[in-house]
């Protein structure tokens, strides 16, 4: 089951540059929420705040609150939090020194799980969920780097799922992929929302329209509008949302 997130007065800085200016947002469980907006609007910073990855960058600062299932994430150990909030990055980034199998179970194994049978079960289950099992089941010992870009990204998704998070953050997961691979990833996102709460940052508005239940439009570090995707795309409340969606800027 996915979990709900509520974001309250979230502000973030990178150096002296304020990238998020008081975001308030409720994120429903088992929903796909798309974050759209022009480059530099703070959408990546926003998802990176949710797993406390933003604060690992030198010179960064965060204020405000994010509540995951009633608990403030800033009161938790970030290492523990990140097991509950998984992340998939823009560019596929499998661990180069590891095989496909080792990549998938990396999170579980490096956190102490030794039982071989359990690890194998986790690997198969995660790869199946990421729709990659049939393509790699005969070459689990090959390097993760031997896969195509789209397969590498699904490997990264499998790797994130293997730690059994409740929220999955995806930062433009398909922007480095070709249309076929993108289609695979999108199909996957639609299936995964059965079990996970998903936030997906995207530059591609058609993609948001295709897969997201609700969409949030960010501009200059502010949340301009957040609502059901159909409403945002057909009947936005804010003039700026309409201008962005119809391609007048951005």
């Amino acid at each position: 089951m996915g979990h709900t997130l509520s974001v309250r007065q979230l502000e973030a800085w990178y150096g002296s540059n304020q990238t998020l200016k008081g975001i308030n947002m409720e994120i429903a469980s088992n929903h796909v929420t798309a974050i759209i907006g022009p480059s530099g609007c703070g959408k990546s910073t926003f998802v990176r705040c949710i797993n406390r990855m933003h604060e690992t960058l030198p010179g960064s600062k965060v204020k405000g609150e994010i509540i995951l299932d009633g608990e403030s994430i800033y009161e938790q150990d970030p290492v523990v939090l990140r097991k509950m909030v998984g992340m998939v990055f823009q560019k596929p980034n499998p661990f180069p020194s590891m095989s496909i199998y080792e990549n998938v179970v990396a999170g579980v194994r490096l956190n102490g799980m030794r039982n071989k049978k359990t690890l194998q079960d986790i690997a198969e289950k995660s790869l199946r969920m990421a729709a990659l099992w049939d393509e790699v089941k005969d070459r689990l010992n090959y390097s993760g780097m031997s896969l195509s870009g789209g397969q590498q990204q699904r490997l990264c998704i499998a790797r994130a799922l293997a730690v059994e998070p409740s929220v999955l953050l995806m930062d433009e997961p398909a922007s480095a992929l070709d249309p076929i691979a993108t289609m695979h990833i999108e199909g996957l996102v639609r299936q995964l929302k059965e079990d996970y709460t998903i936030l997906i940052v995207t530059h591609n508005m058609q993609q948001a329209a295709r897969i997201a239940d609700s969409t949030a439009f960010f501009l200059n570090g502010e949340l301009v509008e957040h609502g059901p995707t159909s409403e945002i795309f057909t009947n936005p409340n804010d003039k700026r949302t309409e201008d962005y969606i119809t391609g007048r800027f951005g």
Partner: protein
Amino acid sequence: MNDIFRKYQNWLMLIVFIIATIIALIPLFGVLGYVLKNGLSALNIQFFINLPKAMGLPGGGMANAIVGTLIMVLIASLIGIPIGILAAIYLTEYDRHSWLSTVVRFATDVLTGIPSIIVGIVIYTAVVLKMGNFSALAGGLALAIIMIPLIIRSTEEMLKLVSHSIREAGYALGISKGKTILKIVLPTAAKGIITGAMLAVARVAGETAPLLFTALGNQYWARSLNEPIASLPVQIFQYATSPYKEWHQLAWAGSLVLILMVIILNLVARFAFRSRSI
């Protein structure tokens, strides 16, 4: 008209580059060829198994010097490689932008350029005089001090080549920073780090000056690490500057063995551990 001039110029410059390359290669192959010519004739099985004979007598070998060099290089590696790698991990992973790491980085650059004889004098004063005798330990320590900056710099470069996104992927899985470095970043850079360490070992294997002050040399087997010990470079130096023809021959053989050791280390570093996937 212009076209002809450009082609002519192009042709002329190409000739200049080729000549410069040939001039650069002549001494390199000259040295190798000379050592090979003089060394091969003196090289035989006795050289590897016998101790040096008394002055002027034919025969004899450098078995103790070969073993001495290996022992001191081993001591230097045991001290220098872990310290160098651990310091590089601290500098790149934990403290990349602070003033401390800037200072350390500058210091390692300076230390890389310091003549090795100075390291020898320092160890002579700080260790040999205090302990009262020349020793393999002091020699190994001097070599380690020459190795450390080389290893820090090469390891640092290799760790910097590991993309930041790999580290973030580790953190995002709920893996702690320490484990991410140890189990993900280091294995990714391992081949390059090993190559750098082996090149540093090859570099110090031929050092003479620091060993003159620290290990001194020995005509016999050293019975412990705490007494003077022979080494190839020092033995070569002593034999080549002696007035005996037989010793000159042995010095050439020693030079050949030393060059071969360094070449083999270089080849192993470059081919066996050639970095394929960073």
